[in-house]
Assembly symmetry: C2
Homo-oligomer: 507 residues x 2
């Protein structure tokens, strides 16, 4: 047992003395102090001296300032920003069935420099265009924190949120907060290339844990940690586990509740911080019924039903402040906003704040203004959920179109796939042992199929491009239904089917 | 002499063989290969595998893709963005005198998802809301590169620009690109706190070079490098010099052309990379005439006259690709845009790109859409210069108001200041040797004055808050004219004058 504060037998429920005392009075515990996980870089960060200056202004409203070097909002050339934003119609998405097209209306939102003075907004354009706190605009952050509470109901008291520049930025930030050069980090055996490409320059050593249909295998994880030999490995046991639990990229796998609990408990036992990178969380889909009309998708009858249908996040299982959850607007609104948020214990969130202050500073104020207009002044919490219900139906429809094409065109005798219940990807498992040139090795078969695809004018990404470990277990391909039209998806799938048939020599 | 490729006698003009050959045919040389300055982190960065995937799509337009996991633009909830933007009137700013107020008109700019399809724009909202290259949107970057060429006329061929998330983000990026833990870095003896607060977590050791009215002293710099003793210092000679050459924060100092050349040549001799952080470059002001009507400001007669009146940047002196120049929209448009750009040799720019891909990714597409509307589709290159001429007049007016108040209320017998020719700050040099309690030390006198200011309801920042080295040379205060009204500035200055008189006991 690594951490003396944590008991092996009942890991999730044990708290340090202070949290136990607090929980008696307020029923929800405080987080553990897990600051021993902070990297050297993160520990050194100090509160900015300029924050001391602004604290004087906060304390004394009569103070005249020759201190703050903020440019004058009257000299910002942008006077007004308007946005036309879609609104999901409640009735249409709530009647239990969803039909694509025609279910949305538009609303027009405006921000002017003096909207606050006019009493029209608590976040006007002068504010959005000015320097902002490293937390991001509090008017938007308050909404996001409420949203996080509604969806994830964190199980400890001192959790907090801070805005990020999207999950790639958030990933770099939390990696730098937790990883020293030479540290081992646990990831899934297949990861989005940017994850590995971001970790390598930090001189982190990645260990990819074997995956099954539910993502990272908890038995493999436990075994690795149990058998960790510092001398043999040339380094201490990993303190960080990075995982995409829902609609994983590239495998499309979604962890079951039990798998999430198992992974979490192992991380408690061996004292690991979990980075839960979860951009596809709301792209959880209804079941795939082969042969059904793809434009008709089953939709939850109410927002409450939708929320209860979602698989619990790892954050929602966390009673210790051991999870850093990364949320992004990239998949649920638009990647160009470059805006997301990080949820975790306030100790960790404060360290992110210190980093933001000397790096990102804060997400674009124009992005935040558009999001604030849309979420706070337009949709509201319930309208945002309506939008997410609509979005889920759209992606379900797209997924179904790809799956129907795969059912029709791909030769089941040499490949198979699991219907993804979330995300944007289908992971195709190709049985290389049936390939006539299997003796050339897994990667040779994969390359042959990939290149034959290019010749047949279909681009589909080989599994080895996402592979963390050196040894390949089988041939895989990642297909996506995110942005291609149903017609192109069908034609591309037909072509890939031909590639497989011709290469494997099946009929 | 550190770098064998560089001659001591005529450092600026010496090029390696390849550049010399190239310059014979194309007259402008190529940069030196200075990649030995890259940090370990930066060297490790690799091109993203996903870029390989997109290269297939670029090569073959007929390829159908099941590869790219981009969300569908039809599912972005934002349909249209409009902005109302100020336009500087050419006639008014060009008649040689500028009067505040009433010289601007508005223009209305729009971006819709399909503006490109409609032939209305080469950068529409679908593009701005989608994932973008790590360079930033090329439609905006092309404008910025042209602007950089017009203003700075780089003296080597293979220079390039890449977009950043503003200069704080750019600073973190180039620091990480060039600095390994334990490295010494040269800075000015007074720096903006965020610079020091950003460098410390990277475990960089800062050396502050003494400043005079022109900023960093070149004689002090040369001496430091000449006399560098690795054993005594416990580290190798610094390879990075960070400087804010124009309207420095906090001192307001602007380097003369000669000072810039001297610093550059020293960096050539001792093989240092120069980080030129220059957000105040366009806030260079006309002369201060005590007693003149502050609302009447002398303005260049043409944009060409304006451009020739600007002091050359260090980038414009660079023939080797030794300068990384950081430009930002924060002072010339709005900080909330979180958008700027880095200029340097394409070798360094490529390393920034690799970092962007796994961090920032790119500046907010909404910010870029607004900037593209304003700069490319609205103002154009010339209209942007018009705006900058207007802005310079506005800040000159503000500076003059503060200087008039200082002339009137501050006791010259115990303090003095240099009229800043650029930026947002006036640096007040207070002669502590005349203070009755000077024996308590410089910092004690400074603290007494600061606290007396708070008591009198004026906040003005003490010099030690910006100090890099441990020993203070005198008492300083930084005053800013950026965003306070003329009335409040005057009252605040009057109060600070009282503080000085009472504390020093002068009449």
């Amino acid at each position: 047992m690594e951490n003396p504060e944590i008991s092996d037998s009942s890991p999730v429920t044990i708290k340090p003395a202070v949290a136990t005392i607090a929980s008696q009075s307020e029923s929800v515990p405080l987080s553990l102090d897990l600051s021993h996980h902070l990297s050297i870089e993160s520990r050194i960060r100090q509160k900015s001296l300029l924050k001391v200056a602004s604290s004087y202004l906060v304390r004394d409203a009569e103070l005249l300032s020759l201190a703050a070097g903020l440019p004058s909002p009257s000299l910002f050339p942008i006077e007004k920003i308007s946005a036309t934003v879609q609104v999901a119609k409640h009735e249409s998405v709530r009647n239990g069935l969803w039909k694509c097209d025609g279910l949305l209306s538009d609303t027009h939102l405006h921000k002017e420099k003096d909207s606050s003075l006019k009493g029209q907004s608590d976040y006007d354009l002068s504010g959005a265009l000015q320097y902002e706190q490293g937390t991001g605009a509090k008017q938007l952050l308050t909404f996001l924190k409420k949203h996080t509470e509604i969806v994830h109901r964190p199980q400890y008291r001192d959790w907090d949120c801070i805005m990020s520049g999207g999950n790639t930025h958030a990933m770099e930030t939390v990696f730098r907060m937790l990883i020293n050069p030479g540290d081992y980090v646990i990831v899934e055996e297949f990861v989005f290339p940017e994850t590995a490409e971001g970790l390598r320059p930090l001189q982190a050593k990645m260990i990819g844990i074997e995956m099954d249909d539910e993502g990272m295998r908890s038995d493999s994880l436990r075994q690795l940690l149990e058998e960790w030999d510092e001398t043999m490995r040339g380094g201490k046991r990993p303190g960080v586990l990075y995982v995409v639990p829902t609609g994983q990229n590239p495998t499309g796998a979604t962890m079951s509740v039990q798998r999430r609990k198992d992974i979490y408990n192992i991380c408690v036992t061996y004292d690991l911080i979990i980075i839960e990178d979860d951009p596809y969380y709301f792209l959880q889909m209804s079941d795939y019924v082969p042969g059904a009309d793809p434009s008709v998708v089953k939709v939850p009858k109410s927002n409450d039903e939708f929320l209860s249908s979602l698989i619990p996040s790892i954050l929602s299982l966390d009673t210790q402040g051991r999870v850093l959850r990364l949320d992004s607007f990239s998949k649920v609104a638009a990647p160009g906003l470059r805006c997301g948020w990080i949820t975790g214990s306030d100790r960790f969130v404060e360290r992110v704040l210190r980093h933001n202050e000397v790096g990102l500073q804060f997400p674009s104020g124009v992005s935040m203004a558009v999001l604030h207009s849309m979420l706070v002044e337009g949709w509201g919490q319930d309208g945002y959920i309506d939008w997410l219900v609509n979005l889920r139906a759209e992606y379900t429809n797209r997924r179904n179109a790809l799956l129907r094409a795969m059912d029709k065109y791909l030769p089941r005798e040499v490949c198979n796939w699991v219907v993804p219940s979330a995300g944007m990807f289908v992971w195709i498992n190709v049985d290389y042992t049936k390939h006539p040139r299997r003796d050339n090795g897994i990667e040779a078969v994969e390359t042959e199929l990939f290149e034959a695809g290019i010749d047949k004018k279909v681009l589909i990404l080989p599994g080895t491009w996402f592979k963390v470990n050196s040894v390949a277990r089988n041939v895989f391909f990642r297909a996506t239904f995110a942005s291609v039209s149903a017609q192109d998806m069908t034609l591309a799938t037909e072509r890939f089917g031909e590639v497989l048939r011709e290469s494997f020599g099946c009929v």
